[in-house]
Amino acid sequence: MNTKTMKWLLQREFWEYKGSMFWAPVIVAVLLVVLMGGGLLYGLAQHFPSQLTIDGYTVQTGGKTIRVALDVQKRIALIASGTYLGAAVPLFGLLAVVVFSYCLGTLHDEQRDRSILFWKSLPVSDSMTVLSKAATAMIVAPLITIVLGTVSSLILLFILCLVTSLNGIDMFGAVLGSPDLYLSPLRLLALLPVYVVWALPTVGWLMLVSSWARSKPILWAVGVPLVGLLIAKWVSLAMGEFAGEPLNIWHYATDTVARLLTGVVPGIWYTFTGNGPAALRPGDNGFDPGSLVTSSYATLGTADAWIGVAIGAAMLYAAMRLRRYRDEG
């Protein structure tokens, strides 16, 4: 593996898909800051709500700030610094859409505009090219989202602190002193390998279709699994009539289709493994963001995760082999 070539291949993907990879999340991040931050400033600084409740503590009624005990203030600050990245949730939703459409388009687009012949006139192997595209989908795009999400959430947190301090609750010190403030972005980074594991079957499937389909890859990518589902439904119904007891294939079929099509959604691993995150249920001390990492890594202990990795890798390999002799537009 030639790292210099890989660097240029990743750079090339970024050039080609700069609009969806970079500018789209930047615009969403800016909108988040402007709308949510503006809302906070406007709502709290201009029109005091009749009552402001944070974590069950009423801190403000009828425009007058209630003297809030210091430990409560601190607690509010802790919650804010532990959950501020939640503001970036729309960006992670966008990430799923961007990665999905990127994987479905990337190997198809170069065949459609015949630029594949230019790339193939250079000493770059098909395996390197396909790997660079998979890495763009599963590593580069999420990293961009993590950075933008962190920056925009920090700005929003700062605006929140500013607004509350204008209303008599000074959280700056407590927020800045909270380790969660600094750990949260690192936790997102730590989740990246989990994302790669669960996204791989979907990325592999979409890139395989992208490489194989002569036209309309979206129809193949979504249509084939749906037809498969229909057949599974039919067979399980028929067998149910015949054997008197419904077959289990329906369950496997829906599972497989979900893994093929939705694996690129961040956090989807909780629904695949069926153990909803305990972390999302606030405990005694509010929300514990650290448990998000441990519970996510716990999903990697399942055989399902690694069967998916094997299938995803096999589909990527098939996409590579297909690209080897795909030259005609």
Partner: protein, 290 residues
């Protein structure tokens, strides 16, 4: 090295249709070979096989490599321009130069930039903003800066106007070609390449019908402006082609043909000269357009 490309029994089938039908040929180093044939004759398929872009049957060796299994090694020494419109539309001139420099060990950046400076291309310009001629200029700038042993050009000037076409071949000959390099060109515009070719290969229905150096062709084929009174005598010598220009009969003879005519014999019939590749092509391909 003996041959740059060596094919024996090279065959390519698309389903039931045979595009290339068991051809044999050798291309030595330091030649500029024109691979010429009508549409669908198999010339592009032959080149694609040599570049490892399509699977094939038979034996084919390019620079000592098998394009099927050793394509990654082969591409270190081979470059090609497949068609004018294949540079991606989002690519910027400076990014293209950076990228090729990044991935190609034999790329000479200074050379590419020198060539680009002689055109109207701007570093920040994207391919989508360029005319067809400018895209080819950019592609040529990139390719000419690569020190490849074999350059394959498949219809490189298709759709370009005459100025770009002339300039393209002139640059290729003056700034790129040397005895270490080999160029294989396919084109419809035979007239424009015949002065730069050293060898000629005519391909028809997946078979090679003529493969010779330009000198051999000059010796073998003779065109005669036959005077009016000698037309029947000339016809008796079995010309491979005849046409009429301003009321005069022009006949093409193959001295290696069954009639075995000599140059002296033909000189008696009228003025002799070497035929153009285009005329030779038309005569050889007679029937394949019918």
């Amino acid at each position: 090295m003996s041959s740059v490309i060596s094919a024996r029994g090279l065959t390519k089938r698309y389903g039931k249709r045979t595009a290339v039908d068991g051809i044999d040929f050798e291309i030595p180093a330091g030649r500029i070979v024109g691979l010429i044939g009508p549409n669908g004759s198999g010339k592009t398929t032959t080149l694609k096989a040599a570049l490892g872009l399509v699977p094939f049957e038979g034996h084919l060796e390019v620079l000592g490599f098998d394009p099927r299994t050793q394509r990654d090694d082969l591409m270190q020494d081979v470059c090609f321009i497949a068609d004018v419109a294949i540079l991606p539309r989002w690519l910027r001139v400076k990014d293209a130069v950076d990228f090729v420099e990044g991935v190609h060990p034999r790329f000479n950046r200074e050379r590419a930039e020198r060539y680009i400076a002689s055109t109207k291309l701007e570093p920040t310009m994207k391919v989508r903003q360029m005319s067809k001629g400018m895209i080819v200029q950019l592609h040529l700038a990139l390719v000419m800066a690569i020190d490849a042993k074999l350059l394959v050009l498949d219809e490189p000037t298709l759709g370009l106007d005459i100025i770009y076409r002339k300039q393209f071949y002139q640059n290729l000959l003056e700034d790129y070609f040397d005895e270490q390099k080999t160029i294989v060109i396919t084109t419809h515009q035979v007239e424009e390449v015949e002065h730069i070719l050293t060898d000629l290969m005519f391909i028809r229905d997946g078979r090679i019908v003529l493969a010779a150096s330009m000198e051999e062709i000059g010796e073998r084929y003779i065109e005669v402006m036959v005077s009016q009174d000698k037309v029947s005598a000339a016809n008796a010598l079995q010309p491979i082609d005849r046409r009429t220009v301003f009321g005069k009969s022009v006949m093409l003879f193959d001295s290696a043909g069954p009639a075995g005519v000599s140059r002296q014999q033909l000189a008696a019939l009228g003025e002799t000269r070497n035929p153009s590749v285009a005329d030779l092509f038309v005569a050889t391909m007679k029937g394949s357009y019918a």
